[in-house]
């Protein structure tokens, strides 16, 4: 029941996001605005508990949701036949570059925080509330 209420909340926030995106002519997609609004609303327990249950279900099977779009590859087979090897090269190289740069940069940036974990975290000890 919690998960169902949570799905309802997610849909409400997605709808709010879509409405705001249209009304304010911002470039953010509706679900993204919905996510930001929900982030604020999660302060309320009435929203947090059901949304948590729904999010565990949805995000636990996140990869399933990409299957319908992925199968759409068959509608672009002509394009893949024409540019296939070049497209594969582009996709593989850029993905590896993105992975390597992000991981190495983050490793370097976070190394600085390790020597002083106790002092640097003082404003964050509000996890309990």
């Amino acid at each position: 029941m919690n998960a169902l209420t949570g799905i309802a909340w997610l849909l409400i926030f997605q709808s709010l996001g879509e409405v705001l995106s249209r009304l304010l002519h911002v470039h953010l997609p509706g679900p993204v605005i919905g996510m930001l609004l929900l982030l604020v609303a999660l302060r309320s327990v009435r929203v947090r508990v059901p949304v948590g249950a729904a999010a565990e279900v949805l995000l636990g099977h996140f990869s399933l949701l990409f299957v319908p779009v992925g199968v759409g590859v068959i509608t672009h087979l002509d394009l893949l036949a024409q540019y296939g090897s070049r497209l594969v090269l582009v996709l593989v190289l850029s993905t590896w570059l993105g992975l390597a740069v992000t991981a190495m940069l983050l490793r370097r940036l976070l190394r600085h925080e390790r020597p002083a974990p106790a002092g640097a975290r003082s404003p964050l000890h509000r996890e309990g509330n």
């Binding site: 997610l10 982030l39 399933l64 299957v67 319908p68 976070l110």
Partner: protein, 237 residues
């Protein structure tokens, strides 16, 4: 035989077919993936997409017919993006303490993934409409479609590139990280979320709870950053 053909024609034209085929194939692929110890090459999305594509081509079922059923799964992408607020909320304390480094890593990493795709594609002589659809390839599919549309690319194509990117990341990241490592689970997960979005994040969630949380975090940040920045950048050119 005639009856069977008629029955098949009827069934394959109803939404029931696309939905059932997608779920059943995924459940089987997922079970296989667990059986081989979550080996990267056994990625359930990869094998579900391959199996369904072959099935559609062999049975000559048009994609729109399939999608009339699969759209019920596809629709859930929207609520799932909204639901990303949940992992962000759960790690808000960590996120606040590391906001600077994480933002920089997401920005630079995302720019590297998208920028290098356009640059390499351009140097290989790919046409402009393909390049415009390649730019948001490291953003999760539903958002990538919106960005590609704003850029004048082909939304459906952008979504396919995004899915392929996610698959490449999910399958190869382990070997790349092992070669360049050592990396903590947080760093691995965050990089997967930035560069290989939803499918990469899904892989990270299965491998380690920390890397899963950071992947979801990266995914959420990436979605916001790229929705704002890519159209702005594109307007400059």
């Amino acid at each position: 035989m005639q009856d069977f053909v008629q029955l098949w024609v009827y069934l394959s034209a109803t939404p029931l077919f696309g939905l059932t085929a997608t779920l059943v194939t995924y459940v089987v692929a997922q079970a296989f993936y667990q059986r081989v110890g979550q080996a990267p090459w056994a990625n359930p999305v990869l094998w579900t997409v391959v199996t369904l594509s072959v099935l559609l081509m062999v049975s000559r079922t048009p994609y729109p017919t399939y999608f009339s059923g699969a759209q019920f799964i596809h629709f859930l992408l929207g609520p799932a993006v909204v639901a990303l607020a949940w992992p962000l909320w759960q790690r808000r304390a960590q996120l606040a303490g590391r906001l600077g480094p994480l933002l920089i890593a997401a920005l630079v990493g995302g720019a590297t993934a998208g920028g290098s795709a356009v640059a390499i594609g351009w140097s290989l002589g790919l046409p402009v409409n393909l390049l415009r659809s390649l730019a948001p390839k490291s953003v999760t599919a539903p958002v990538a479609m919106g960005i590609a549309e704003a850029l004048g690319g082909v939304p459906a194509l952008a979504a396919v590139f995004a899915v392929l990117t996610g698959l490449i990341g999910a399958i190869s990241a382990k070997y790349l990280f092992d070669a360049l490592g050592p990396f903590t689970p947080c760093e691995r997960g965050f990089a997967l979320g930035v560069s290989a979005h939803g499918i990469g994040a899904a892989r990270a969630m299965q491998v380690h709870p920390d890397s899963g949380a950071y992947a979801a975090l990266a995914l959420g940040m990436q979605v916001v950053l790229s929705s704002v920045l890519i159209p702005l950048l594109a307007r400059l050119f």
